[in-house]
């Protein structure tokens, strides 16, 4: 376990970036942008109360009324004092894994996970930009860069936020909870159901378009709505890039409507339902109406986690033909025991063999058992066993180890 101790030693230093890493000390009136300026300084995130309070840049004139000082500035502008430009906040996520399974022809391997640079920039109180850029290797070991999310956001109020760009479709829960961070997830990987498109996933995980979200005034039910309108997924050829980043195959757009509840009386509980519709246009075949219904009930507290999702995908060819239904679900339970978090997951994805959209998926189901150990606040070690059953093929067993971290 020497290497664990080494990791502990290396990561014992307090992290530089913290979500609330601003420190303020002034006797003068200051504006919001000055607060944000201090918050940006990377050496101020040390979480010790006895750290020397930094001094602010020159604030408003001492005898100037505070409100006037704020109004004369650009309220909410998170900008660099010297250049006047908006600044960026960075956070990174990544992981390294080792995995082995007993399928014929597979070799045990070390694997680089996704190197994720998450960037946010606040342009004003109501405008911001968010980006998630991932560098990763494919199955041919070639490295590539993907812009997984890029959102320009207008936050009007608690009841309306509008975003344009590339987003994670709000189908179910997992997809918009963890995005591309292995560190945030309890388990090593995503459920089959929520696998990314380039890993054989059956959901349109990413989309390019416009979305709106906000609270619904419904008291303690904690209701929120989400409306998404985008290009949908590519279907012309199985070899097509799944996400239609620049050009849509057809003029019809995919629409997704979701509603979710976070009851005030039960903190940590979320239940939601979504409806997704798109028209697929595969080449040399009739158009296909794609409907995706998804529901989830999840409970997460610091000590306990129970995740449940169910998805039904319906493919209906135009002009007749049999309607094909694919289903997928998973349930995952974990409990925190100090720095350890054992977990168990059972998952299933079943796609009809006749479904031309997912020719290689078939049936995949089975349990996973694992344990997560938080080496420090920002580093996690995970070990997971998976048993996977397949249709008309022998099942297989796999074991994986993963070191995941944020920085």
């Amino acid at each position: 376990m020497d290497w664990v101790l080494l990791l502990l030693a290396l990561t014992d230093r307090p992290p530089i970036l913290q979500p609330d890493a601003a420190s303020l000390s002034t006797r003068h009136a200051v504006s919001r942008e000055q607060v944000d300026t201090v918050a940006r300084q990377p050496d101020l995130g040390i979480s010790h109360s006895d750290a020397a309070p930094p001094t602010l840049p020159t604030a408003a004139a001492p005898n100037q009324p505070a409100a006037a000082a704020v109004q004369q500035g650009m309220p909410g502008m998170d900008r660099d004092e010297s250049s006047g430009m908006p600044t960026m906040q960075f956070r990174g996520f990544s992981d390294v894994s080792y995995h082995v399974d007993d399928r014929a022809g597979t070799a045990n391997s070390f694997s680089l996970g996704q190197f994720n640079l998450f960037i946010t920039s606040k342009l004003s109180d109501k405008l911001s930009v968010l980006a998630e850029t991932v560098v990763e290797a494919d199955q041919q070991n070639s490295m590539g860069i993907d812009l997984e999310r890029l959102l320009f956001r207008w936050i009007s109020s608690d009841f309306l936020t509008v975003s344009v760009g590339r987003y994670h479709t709000s189908i179910g829960w997992y997809n918009t909870a963890y995005h591309h961070s292995a560190w945030m997830q309890t388990a090593i990987g995503r459920p089959f159901l929520c696998a990314f498109e380039d890993n054989g996933g059956i959901l349109p995980i990413h989309n390019v378009g416009i979305s709106a979200t906000g609270r619904i005034p419904a008291g303690d039910l904690g209701l929120r709505y989400i409306v998404e309108f985008g290009n949908g997924r590519a279907s012309r050829s199985p070899l097509s890039e799944a996400v239609q980043n620049v050009v849509d195959e057809n003029s019809g757009k995919a629409i997704n409507l979701a509603i979710l509840s976070r009851p005030a009386q039960l903190p940590g509980l979320e239940a939601g339902f979504s409806f997704y519709y798109d028209k697929l246009t595969p080449s040399e075949r009739p158009k296909v109406g794609e409907t995706i219904l998804a529901g989830h009930v999840v409970y997460q507290s610091s000590q306990f986690e129970w995740l449940n999702e169910l998805v039904v995908i319906r493919h209906a060819p135009e002009g007749g033909g049999s309607v094909l239904r694919s289903t997928g679900f998973y349930t995952q339970v974990s409990a925190k025991l100090g720095a350890w978090r054992p977990y168990v997951r059972y998952q299933s994805v079943s796609v009809p063999d006749a479904d031309p959209m997912f020719p290689d998926v078939g049936l995949q189901r089975g349990p996973s058992l694992g344990i997560r150990y938080d080496v420090t606040e920002w580093v996690a070690l995970k070990c997971q066993y998976d048993r996977t059953e397949r249709r008309r093929q022998s099942g297989y067993n796999g074991v994986a180890l993963q070191l995941s971290f944020t920085f």
Partner: protein, 185 residues
């Protein structure tokens, strides 16, 4: 067991609920307008906390259109689930630095999280695009109240004995610091 009395929020001259765009919201809006007219300074009344060591006061500028919150609304504010006092007036959370008593009280009573869980919560909140940023840290009660006075929409959680004149202390479930039943201590 006696039924818990409904918080007074809905009956206050100006409250967070008042700004909800629901049909039912017009009743408290009308009531608020009437009370403001009748009592004049009701909208800018500054509630002064009793000097009770140990209580943590929620402090805002007098122009924040809220006089009191339910405990649940305090939680929603601190969790980043409610980010506007009213359209155009954004909430800015100011938190004391780690290892200070005020912060410990807020983490224990409102967030119900450890320091580590709190940090992780805000990383995830921003990552999920549910918030632009987490709370800002302030290193003293004095700095906190000065910033509250300077930044529209700012709210701080400070020692109730160190609230200067000119700032508004919000009631929680109808109680001010020092009152029986006040929960932030």
């Amino acid at each position: 067991m006696a039924r818990r009395r409904r918080p007074l929020l809905n009956r206050r001259p100006a409250s967070l609920r008042t700004w909800w765009p629901s049909a039912a919201g017009f009743v408290p809006i009308a009531a608020s307008a009437l009370l403001i007219v009748v009592f004049g300074a009701a909208g800018t009344r500054v509630a002064r906390a009793q000097a009770v060591p140990g209580d943590v006061a929620i402090v805002v500028r007098p122009d924040v259109p809220v006089d009191g919150l339910t405990f649940q609304e305090v939680r929603e504010l601190l969790m980043g689930d409610r980010q506007f006092w009213k359209p155009g007036l954004r909430v800015s959370l100011l938190m004391r630095a780690p290892a200070t008593r005020e912060r410990d009280v807020i983490l224990k009573t409102v967030y119900r999280m450890t320091e580590s869980e709190f940090r992780r919560y805000w990383i995830e909140k921003v990552f999920r695009a549910e918030a632009q940023a987490g709370p800002k840290i302030v290193y003293s009660n004095e700095a906190a109240t000065e910033l509250v006075a300077s930044i529209p929409g700012a709210v701080a959680f400070v020692d109730a004995t160190q609230v200067p004149k000119g700032l508004k202390v919000l009631r929680i479930d109808g109680a001010l610091p020092g009152d029986k039943g006040y929960r932030l201590h």
